[in-house]
């Protein structure tokens, strides 16, 4: 399933000058919806961290990094720095998902929902797949039970297709299917 955020590797350096023939090359891995935004985010970060900006530098390469294997669930640990209304904080968040891009999507939506922080106020410092034994959050570790099972209580019935929806039903729907 296509995700909004994609992982890009952007490689760039300051433009070579007579003083500095081959400047230091920097590589950044960052999340952006597309290559154009990726390049823009590259300059945003590089400008913050080094004396380099779009006018004085050049991007050498942009590559997308895709998930190696989306056929099993991983625990993603994500370290972020975000601006709240009254300060800037570090955070560590965990998400269980099938691909890093999907976990980052969830992260941005989660941060927006829980902390009202928008895309521009969040900087992703580091991401990693975390071993189940090293996970810290209960919401992820509760799924690490090898004999996990849970029922689906109170199911709200939905017609198989939108066409089969009706305004009125002859009988009250049943919500217990277990």
């Amino acid at each position: 399933m296509p995700t909004k955020m994609r992982l890009f590797q952007v490689v760039g350096r300051k433009a070579p000058t007579p003083n500095d023939e081959s400047p230091q090359i920097y590589r950044m891995k960052l999340f952006a919806p597309n290559e154009v935004n990726a390049k823009s985010r590259f300059w945003y970060f590089m400008h913050q961290m080094r004396k380099m900006k779009k006018t004085t530098g050049e991007i050498l390469d942009v590559n997308e990094i895709t998930e190696k294997n989306t056929n099993y669930v991983k625990n993603y640990g994500i370290w972020i720095k975000y601006n709240s209304r009254s300060g800037t904080h570090n955070m560590y968040r965990e998400y269980r998902d099938v691909s890093l891009n999907a976990a980052i999507d969830t992260l941005y939506n989660d941060m927006a929902g829980r902390h009202r922080s928008r895309f521009q106020s969040i900087q992703i410092i580091r991401t990693a797949t975390v071993k189940s034994s090293d996970c810290k959050r209960v919401t992820t570790t509760q799924f690490h039970d090898s004999k996990l099972k849970y029922p689906l209580p109170h199911r709200v019935v939905r017609p198989t297709t939108k066409q089969l929806r009706s305004k009125y039903l002859a009988t009250r729907p049943s919500t217990h299917f277990n």
Binding site: N71, R96, F143, K149, T161, N178
Partner: protein, 134 residues
């Protein structure tokens, strides 16, 4: 009167919404509260390995004995050992789905034949009833 059908590794579920509605699938891992990793197996039901929301699943009574994240071959072997497909087809749930599908695909001539058959059936029934009541 508790729960008998659980979201667990190996649980066979019927997809009840979306493009794959009406097909069976096996739960091979749980991602979070609302999502599970699901596999057909593709050989048996046509469902590829994918993420599915539990909202789209109707759990059945069948559980395939597979380990978590089992590869497709193992799931197919479990399905064949336990005869899940045949067991499913013989449940009244599956039979009702099949008749619904059949009825929806009838041509006008088929519907005419159904009408005639119904008439013949009621004729036999009422004749027997009058015999008994008389």
């Amino acid at each position: 009167m508790g729960f008998t059908r659980f979201v667990e590794v190996g649980r066979v579920a019927l997809i009840n919404y979306g493009p794959d509605a009406g097909k069976l699938c096996t739960i091979i891992d749980m991602i979070d509260n609302n999502r599970v990793l699901v596999d057909g197996p593709r050989e048996k039901t046509g469902i590829h390995r994918q993420v599915m929301t539990t909202k789209r699943l109707s759990l059945t009574d069948f559980v395939a004995k597979i380990p978590r994240n089992a590869k497709e071959k193992k799931i197919v072997a479990a399905w064949e050992d336990q005869g899940i497909l045949a067991a499913w087809e013989s449940t009244s749930w599956a039979k009702k789905l099949a008749t619904k599908k059949r009825r929806a695909s009838l041509s006008d001539f088929d519907r005419f034949k159904v009408m005639i058959a119904k008439k013949q059936k009621t004729e036999i029934v009422t004749k027997k009833l009058t015999e008994i009541s008389a």
